[in-house]
């Protein structure tokens, strides 16, 4: 079976959906970050594939930028997570409810 662009795109979409599901379901902050990483990386797959399909480097460039941004995001995110953990002793989303209404 030939693996074409569509397969990559479907894979990407499925990964994105998984990421979304993770974002909805996860109550653990760390796992939530994983889910967002999946989201971003699913896009990377598609970009790489499309870039190859068009024979154009722009897509791959975009993918690199996404990777870089994802990395810095994780840095900031983990920083926040650590502070939160220090203060509250957990990283459960259910504890973040001091503001509402």
């Amino acid at each position: 079976m030939e693996i074409g662009l569509n397969h990559y795109l479907v894979l990407s979409t499925i990964l994105f959906a998984i990421g979304l599901a993770g974002v909805i379901k996860r109550k653990n902050l760390l796992l939530l970050f994983f889910a967002t990483e999946i989201l971003l990386n699913s896009v990377n797959i598609a970009f790489a594939a499309i870039s190859h399909y068009y024979g154009d480097l722009t897509g791959q460039m975009f993918a690199f930028f996404i990777i870089a941004i994802a990395a810095s995001e994780v840095a900031v995110g983990l920083g926040l997570l650590i502070v939160w953990y220090k203060r509250h002793g957990n990283i459960d989303l259910e504890t973040m409810k001091s503001m509402r209404g």
């Binding site: 699913s42 897509g59 975009f62 900031v76 995110g77 926040l80 502070v83 939160w84 503001m99």
Partner: protein
């Protein structure tokens, strides 16, 4: 064998990059100073930031000269872009930042300002916003967006309270999701057109007559979700009230203005050609989103007990109101957007600054939150001038003439009328009436209730310094005498917007 790349400096057109480079340099400088000598007073960094922002502002003025002379200009491998929208947005961004940064000079000591990183991050954030607005390239937009957002998350967290961390985490998580949406949307359009430059996307799509409408709409949906988050459109707004509440009042005021104008400009660039493509779906969806955002957030603002949270919802409502300009899509509407936002910056920064002034370190017993309505009860008795000024900002926010925001509303509704959106115009008008209630509520607390026991005039002025007074004064004067500035502003903005082809 790769051929050597020859790039002439002229074609790079570095002036397009200058406004972004200045704050970056400033940020680096601050970091270096901190490395060399720690523990310097915050006033140094405030002034330094101000200085770089002023230089930035001059650079923007300079590029506006370029724009006036040459029209829309590209630079740096056609990645950077100088057009009217970019310049106007940069004016707002830099101007509002200049009004914001002196708010750090509070009387009481706050945690975040003792870190020079705060100021460095702040300048990086501004650079990020400027990248966002001054480019056509989705990559650069994405980079600018993330640079600024990540900096912003950190700035919020630096307020160093439980609530600020919570706010930062919430903002960050949702921001990450939105980033996902953005990148996926960009991917869809890249797939459809093979390009990541908005004007080229538009060209390609127009050339094939929007053949794959379904896919275009899917891409639009992703972008809408991403911008919806940034612009706090319902139902992507949920972060806004909590983040506003969690961050300091001054930062909340800043957030209600600068990130949004950047997002508006991107949204304008992106949606404008789609709106004009005669696509009913986008019209309907935007219509619904605009109306729901305006109305629902007004309703939520009605029931708030904390002024800052009320202002958060009101900012959402204003964003919805302004989003209507993108729906209408005429030159007048786009002009109205900038006009509105400039006037809104003055008023909203002013009102948040007033809250900032009254921020206490510790809450007294009778007060449930930092800026609960109760706190302001009977303020006219103890602090007449301050209460008159707050009242002024509230009236302006409510759209009462002749204060600043009235003119924005006037022009915006007029553009709806002229664009044929009669019902929308009525909804916009009536929403102002609903909004009147919660702004009025604060006025009523201040002017018509008796003061609560134990409160004195100090409660409203704990943070007061000359710098803060100046900022509030500027905002107040801008609010009252806006009518003098409307005409030049209008002519200036119209020219810029019109010449950029929007």
């Amino acid at each position: 064998m790769l051929s050597p790349i020859n790039v002439s400096m002229e074609s790079l057109n570095l002036i397009t990059l200058a406004p972004m480079l200045i704050p970056v340099v400033g940020a680096l400088l601050i970091l270096i100073i901190d490395i060399i000598k720690v523990g310097l007073h915050k006033s140094l960094y405030v002034v330094l930031s101000l200085l770089f922002l002023a230089m930035d502002f001059i650079a923007v003025v300079d590029s506006s000269g370029v724009f006036i002379a040459n029209g829309t200009t590209f630079g740096l491998f056609d990645v950077m872009l100088i057009d009217g929208l970019a310049i106007l947005a940069e004016f707002i961004i830099v101007g509002a930042s200049m009004l914001f940064i002196p708010l750090a000079m509070t009387h009481k000591r706050f945690h975040e300002f003792s870190y020079p990183e705060f100021f460095a991050l702040f300048l990086f954030m501004i650079a990020g916003f400027q990248f966002m607005v001054a480019t056509d390239n989705l990559i650069l937009i994405f980079v600018g967006l993330e640079t600024s957002s990540l900096a912003l998350y950190t700035l919020i967290a630096m307020h160093n309270r439980d609530k600020s961390f919570e706010a930062a985490v919430k903002y960050f998580t949702m921001g990450a999701l939105a980033a996902g949406f953005f990148s996926f949307g960009a991917m869809v359009f890249y797939m459809l057109t093979g390009s990541i430059e908005i004007n080229k996307i538009a060209l390609v799509l127009a050339a094939n007559g929007y053949a794959d409408m379904g896919f275009v709409l899917i891409g639009v949906t992703f972008f809408l979700a991403a911008f919806g988050f940034k612009l706090s459109l319902i139902p992507f707004h949920t972060w806004a009230p909590d983040v506003y509440e969690g961050s300091s009042a001054s930062m909340a005021g800043y957030m209600s203005i600068v990130p949004k104008i950047a997002a508006f400009v991107v949204a304008m660039r992106f949606f404008e050609f789609l709106v004009h493509s005669g696509n009913a779906w986008l019209d309907i969806v935007l219509y619904i989103v605009v109306v729901v955002t305006m109305t629902a957030s007004n309703m939520w603002a009605l029931v708030q007990t904390d002024v800052k949270r009320m202002l958060a919802y009101s900012s959402i409502s204003h964003a919805g109101f302004v989003m209507a300009a993108i729906l209408i899509g005429t030159t007048q509407a786009n002009t109205a957007l900038f006009l509105y936002w400039i006037l809104f910056s003055f008023t909203n920064l002013g009102s948040f600054s007033m809250l900032w002034m009254s921020r206490q370190k510790h809450l007294p017993d009778y007060q449930s939150s930092d800026h609960s309505y109760n706190k302001f009860a009977g303020m006219i008795k103890t602090a007449p001038i301050a209460s008159v000024i707050v009242g002024l900002f509230m009236l302006s926010l409510a759209g009462l003439p002749p204060f600043a925001l009235f003119w924005g509303k006037l022009y915006m509704i007029s553009s709806a009328v002229a664009g044929g959106y009669t019902v929308l115009a009525l909804i916009m008008a009536l929403n102002s009436a609903i909004a009147g209630y919660y702004y009025l509520k604060l006025i009523i607390y201040m002017f018509m209730k008796e003061p609560l026991q134990g409160s004195d005039s100090c409660a409203y002025a704990t943070n007061i310094t000359l710098a803060l007074k100046t900022i509030v004064g500027i905002a107040a004067i801008g609010t009252i005498f806006a009518f003098v500035a409307i005409n030049p502003l209008l002519e200036f903005i119209t020219a810029f917007v019109h010449n950029s082809g929007y």
